[in-house]
């Protein structure tokens, strides 16, 4: 297991508004979101229902929708919004420093 740490993920402009990109770190995969207001959020990379990649899903406002079964989560809090999404997503803290997005992986 890697120690808890801030990792540099990408440049701010690498993620469109209201969109999501994948990133890997130490064997784990994650999803990085940019909200309509430009702020960044991060969650685990796969849906808690059937392991589809969330980066292939559609971001609508504060919601990420799984590409397979349309399970919905609030990516800001990880909250599952109803069947088939029952289990919340893990979320990770983010910060932006000098045009780079950092995520705290614990």
């Amino acid at each position: 297991m890697s120690a808890s740490t801030w990792i540099a993920v990408c440049a701010v402009d690498d993620v469109e508004f209201e969109d999501v990109v994948p990133f890997d770190h130490a064997g784990g995969d994650y999803a990085l979101y940019r909200a309509p207001d430009g702020s960044f959020y991060a969650t685990e990379g796969h849906c808690t229902h059937e392991r589809a990649r969330l980066c292939d899903g559609l971001v609508m406002g504060s919601i990420i929708e799984c590409p397979r079964h349309n399970g919905r989560f609030d990516y800001r809090t990880g909250e599952a919004k109803g069947a088939p999404a029952i289990i919340d997503l893990r979320t990770y803290r983010t910060r932006v420093d000098d045009g780079t997005v950092y995520v705290f992986i614990d």
Binding site: E16, E18, G38, S39, D56, G57, L58, P67, G99
Partner: protein, 423 residues
């Protein structure tokens, strides 16, 4: 609002409706009835992972637990009749159950192969069918799949991955005819050929004969194909018998209105078994067989059972997995008058169909994994909104699809201004 709701059918639609009833606050008794001893389970994996993996159990094992924790009774039994006058369903063996509101979600069954010897062909619809097929499809076996639709091709892919030598016999001129555009069908066919699946189009099966311990599939104007296993995937028929015998209107399915009510106001029908009017298609009647349709209609029927009056407007959406490829279709391609192709930077083609008045009516694409999911999901939203996207913009991969389809100027502007944002 009815005091007791009975749901006939423990498939995706029926279980989903039962859970949605609870989620909407209905606190009366709910019973879901099914005669399948393995129910409830999820059906899409039956022709995918569950068929390929020799040890997997019935998929979606959590459903029963969800029903129980929502205090929904799951009853194993075969219903033989609906007594509309008394408001009750009659089981095999004299048992009965009364209802105030009834939802028929009986689904569909696999059509049989209607040629001499057709009974030798195995079919795939239930978990028991999966167990039988997994037992038969051993490495080195020769399998003939009759029918080059989605189900037949998914079975062919599983059989090939299990080490069988596979031939697909399709009577039309290409696989997936009338289901997807020819360009997508050719990608699917090419992928199958790479896995050494022998696809024969224009092959009309005349008979299936026993040939010792094997079978011979006789085809018009061709030599026979000898196989260890013969599988028929030649479509499905809606289970309308109960409804028909009870005097409810049935055509190519149980006829319902835009709120899933049958010709009896206390009885509703949804999912594969029903024929419903689709608003965005000028209320043309449709019967759809897909997971998404079962889910959407189950949710909507629950609201209708509780008296909601909003008509059903969900846009049809379908996917099929073939090896590492997933194809997706949104809307109804046959409503299109004109097609527009968008070739993405990764080479994937998204095909859009526009009606004569310019409205988007369908989008379809095939790609690795879920790589086309986001674009097709945007199309679903656009079709639902009645969007009339510019065909020039649609065809231009440099134009963000979200803005083109949803005419979401704000989204495009925000990204144009992205440089100025620093936090």
């Amino acid at each position: 609002m009815g005091r007791r709701i009975v749901v006939i059918g423990g498939g995706e639609c029926g279980t989903r409706a039962a859970l949605a009833l609870r989620a909407c606050g209905f606190d009366g008794p709910i019973s879901v009835v099914d005669s399948d001893p393995f129910a409830p389970y999820e059906r899409p994996p039956l022709s995918k992972a569950a068929l390929g993996d020799a040890t997997a159990g019935p998929p979606g094992g959590g459903v029963l637990g969800s029903l129980r924790s929502a205090s929904i009774e799951f009853v194993y039994g075969r219903i033989e009749a609906i007594d509309r006058r008394a408001g009750r369903v009659l089981f095999e063996g004299r048992r009965e159950m009364s209802y105030d509101r009834l939802l028929i979600a009986t689904g569909a069954r696999a059509s049989s192969l209607s040629v001499p010897g057709g009974e030798h062909a195995l079919r795939l619809r239930t978990w028991q069918d999966v167990l039988r097929l997994r037992d038969q499809l051993q490495p080195g076996m020769t399998a003939v799949v009759i029918g080059g639709g989605f189900l037949g091709l998914e079975i062919a892919a599983c059989a090939a991955l299990r080490g069988c030598s596979v031939t697909v016999l399709e009577q039309a001129f290409h696989v997936l005819e009338r289901l997807v555009p020819a360009s997508i069908a050719s990608v699917v066919a090419a992928r199958h050929r790479r896995e050494r699946v022998d696809i024969r189009c224009g092959a009309r099966v005349a008979a299936v004969r026993r040939a010792g311990r094997r079978f011979a599939v006789e085809v018009h104007d061709s030599d026979a194909f000898v196989a260890d296993v013969v599988i028929a995937a030649v479509g499905a028929r809606p289970n309308t018998d109960l409804a028909g015998a009870a005097g409810l209107r049935t055509e190519a399915g149980i006829v319902v209105d835009s709120r899933f009510a049958t010709s009896d106001g206390a009885i509703f029908a949804a999912g594969d078994c029903c024929s419903f009017p689709l608003p965005f298609a000028d209320c043309a009647r449709l019967r759809l067989e897909s997971w998404r349709n079962a889910v959407d209609q189950g949710d909507a029927a629950a609201l209708a059972l509780l008296g909601a009056s909003r008509p059903y407007t969900a846009v049809p959406w379908f996917w099929s997995d073939q090896y590492d490829l997933t194809l997706q279709i949104a809307g109804v391609p046959s409503l299109g008058a004109r097609e527009v192709l968008r070739v993405r930077e990764d080479g994937v083609e998204i095909r859009f169909d526009l009606a004569s008045d310019g409205r988007l009516v369908s989008a379809s694409a095939i790609g690795e994994g879920d790589s086309v999911a986001k674009d097709i999901r945007l199309a679903v939203l656009a079709i639902g909104r009645g969007s009339c996207p510019s065909s020039v913009d649609l065809a231009d991969p440099a134009r963000p699809l979200r803005a083109v389809l949803l005419n979401d100027g704000a989204h495009a502007r925000r990204n144009d201004e992205a440089q100025r944002i620093r936090r």
